[in-house]
Symmetry: C2
Subunit: 101 residues, 2 copies
DNA sequence: TTACATTAGACAGATATTGACAAGTCAAAA
DNA sequence: TTTTGACTTGTCAATATCTGTCTAATGTAA
């Protein structure tokens, strides 16, 4: 599930209003609405605030948020899976190099 | 291999000078140098021009270029692999949804 | 209707990206 | 050693993108 849908689901489960959560995040209700609907991308800071406001794991939310950004970036490419595979390969290489230090 | 290193290798194999390739791309030599060294990210247009100038597959270069952007985005995260896995999962979901249309 | 939650659009200000220029390093040739 | 040519680096103005808010609109239940 996309990041926006996920946090909306969390918010609704907790029976919180947009304005309540947005207020805790110190942003406008409209902005949170857009983030939940996926028409605006949250900033890292805002994801952290969200985790706090929704009492959820910050790491988990950040993970979903980053994955979401990647998806938005390549979802329209015909070879998106190959791109991810290549990225994974590169990450592995980097990790190995780091360990050698 | 990162995108920049890769295109530098290609250029050197073909014995082309920065200024020759840059000229074909209608950009400054300095900019191409930075792209090859990874201190600047090429624009999509420039990757296309590069493919032309180096006589390489545009799709392949674009793939590497996108993978590179993803790597730059998450390489410093401790859970980068998990992030990629999640992204892959989402992409699969999207693909399935599309097929249902 | 009224009240309240949510959403859409438009805007100005903040931030980031872009490409070029000039000055720099470096190595090989003269 | 000077010169030459390839490449690199730092800086900067112009441009493009992003940010958050405001206002107005939509939807919905009482």
């Amino acid at each position: 599930m996309a990041f926006g849908n996920y946090i909306r689901k969390l918010r609704e489960e907790k029976q919180l209003l947009l304005r309540e959560v947005a207020s805790q995040m110190s942003i406008d209700t409209a902005l949170l609405s857009k983030i939940e609907r996926g028409t605006r991308i949250a900033r890292k800071e805002q994801v952290e605030d969200l985790a706090e406001a929704l009492n959820e794991s910050e790491n988990e939310l950040l993970k979903l948020w980053m994955a979401d950004k990647i998806v938005k970036m390549i979802k329209d490419e015909s070879n998106s899976t190959e791109i991810l595979k290549k990225a994974e390969e590169e990450i592995k290489n980097l990790t190995n190099k780091k360990q050698q230090l």
